[in-house]
Symmetry: C4
């Protein structure tokens, strides 16, 4: 069942330690088959060396396990919420990568300070509000998804153009049109967090890039008239 | 004698350089056999490449060498004090890992700023007070243990729920229910020190997470109703 | 065609990941054959493992492709402008190396704070002004070159003595008398950015080195009476 | 001639890249045979992969080449001055290691903030004053040695107890009773610079350790009654 997607999700998971985004088992990747609504996700608390395409877990859009011997990631309900709300995305990543977490713990957006961010994120990378007592106590992982979705709605951010978020006091989630693309965005987010942290220390007053430069870099890669790469 | 524990302590010692917690010989791991009260610990000042299960040193709960050709770690008396006072722990680690030492030298707790810490430490990671002249001059290593124990008592911190400490102007000690678990906590402590340092620079005013979120994360892994992983 | 230069440019490109200056495909090296005015440059958006001397792209000094199956780097027009204006240089590098980008995003020069910089850069490494709306919208990559050239002219900096620049809100370009020399300067720039960032945090008030020390270090390597190395 | 010392100096030089203290060729190690007053030192500007015991250069205490096909390190005159003034040392290291350079460029001592430093340096690691125009212009490398020696004399620091220094706006020199010991101190200096930098950011007001703790740690390793390790 879903052999290709399982391999894809497995390989995307293995990219996390390869890109130094992971300590121990602190991270997970999922992918979705939009036709039948099945999600493939990393099992919970299993070490990366022990992963295989075969032990990936299949759940449905209710978060119920459809196939697999192991429990799915404890963050499964967050992934499910995001897949339901953001209808174009096909892969999701969660990590505790250190620079991203530093901003998440500070409760601060990563502002768009340069072209590295602008090449993949069309603006600031938002941080969610802190979660409320009742959200934490009841269906916490599902509510984590809800607060992400709320952030994008309230601030009118398009999740297809800003493929990532910082969950307040927790860490980053990123997504994309495939599990591998979601990992790519996780790397970009971590790297811009690192660079913009240092930028903020050098120049604490004004680091936002111009809207013109943001438009240019995002759109030369992602707009109708994109001309970057070999397309 | 104690062949299994020696191997366990040896392997836990070798995890320190593997996890980049060690410069030269600056660190040590011990384990205890609670039935007979014997402690197995790294020999003093020996390079990691020259360690083997066989050259681990056995001492008793007075700190006296029971077996081994080499001198035990110079920090042995600290380990002994902690094993005597914290009756549930079975492994102890000491390192000079750089982010933890940075906080220890600053004389500051690592506040609970996010879920990475909350997953393993139920609150701030405390720093001890500075040691007094007489504590330093007489039985210094034993007194180092005493000041750790005093810190947990005075501040009413449960060492089973906060498995680590920063010794002021010195560095971290961590523990757990096995030598490997103590190393795991040493890695977590180093990683949260790194992230929370950066968080404090981004947001110098308020970085403490909510008690609700702290409860949630600690207890979903460690409480009666833990549901993380494959249990 | 230009087999030697293609190999040289290929090898210089491969030095970028080797020296940890690169994430994904974010960087490129070119070289020029000054006799016939042909430039060899990395193809756009191709991963480093897939590069070979054969897939390097040849363009002329108008930026038109002369040979090659792939599109040249999207930054080609910037390289062309620099080769036209700085007549002694034979290699150019662009990266998004993190410390250099941190200064570029902050819009700040890297001041000459010590001998490491003075050994290769005869003064501060300048940051360009921000680009204007019309420069961004029309021939952006070419205008990026122009704003670099303007910076050196207005501030009367000799590009042979200061072989690098930070493009505002973007990142570094470096150059040299060969592609390999341009990479060498990219490494130096990244390393001095890292060190001088920390220097600025330790001592926010005065970190400029003396003109005498700057003269000494630059000229003992690059002046008429250079005596460093085996020459 | 001096085959053993050449091997020792060669091997100590190779420890520099192994311990991540080196970019390109920016560093050198020497050793001295105190009986005949000959110094063995790295050749100038040669890459580490091309070093061998055979291409080490022999100079006398005037800095004149006694044996070797290559030029000695351009810093040879500094080494010579230090060997003449500090009569107990037998090995010297110079690097541009990044954390040490950050303090050197800031013109600041590395204060004794914790036991890691106290284990090897009996107090602050001093920075020299800036060099004067005439010192820079005439016999610069020899004068670099002189200003180091002046620093230790004026501040009454014992070079046997504080085996390293930061040359203002330049970088660190360390020494020891062998070339390998000098490298060891270079690693310690770099590591404490890193940690104490972060300590200063967390706690900008008071980070000096107590004299009692400094005494204890330095003397338990280096005093008459040292009890660390296997001695």
């Amino acid at each position: 069942m879903l052999g290709d997607l399982k391999r894809e999700v497995y390989e995307a998971n293995m990219l996390l330690p390869k890109n130094n985004l992971i300590t121990f088992t602190w991270g997970n990747v999922s992918g979705i088959d939009r036709e039948n609504g099945y999600i493939v996700i990393k099992p919970s608390g299993v070490e990366y060396e022990q992963l295989s395409p075969e032990n990936m877990v299949v759940v449905d859009l209710e978060g119920k396990k459809v196939e697999g011997d192991l429990n799915p990631s404890s963050d499964t309900a967050t992934h499910v919420e995001l897949y339901k709300a953001f209808s174009n995305i096909k892969g999701i990543v969660h990590t505790h990568s250190p620079w991203a977490v530093s901003f998440a713990q500070a409760g601060r957006d990563i502002p768009a300070a340069g072209t590295t961010q602008a090449d993949y994120f069309y603006g600031s990378i938002p941080v969610t509000r802190q979660m409320k007592k009742e959200e934490i106590e009841d269906e916490y992982e599902k509510q984590t998804g809800s607060v992400i979705i709320e952030t994008f709605k309230k601030r009118q951010i398009n999740p297809n153009q800003v493929p990532g978020v910082l969950v307040n006091d927790h860490g980053p989630f990123t997504w994309g049109d495939s599990p591998a693309s979601a990992v790519y965005h996780a790397v970009v987010l971590e790297r811009v967090a690192e660079m913009t942290y240092h930028t903020m220390q050098i120049n604490p007053t004004s680091i936002e890039m111009s809207q013109d430069l943001l438009d240019k870099h995002y759109l030369r890669k992602h707009g109708k008239n994109a001309y970057y790469g070999q397309k």
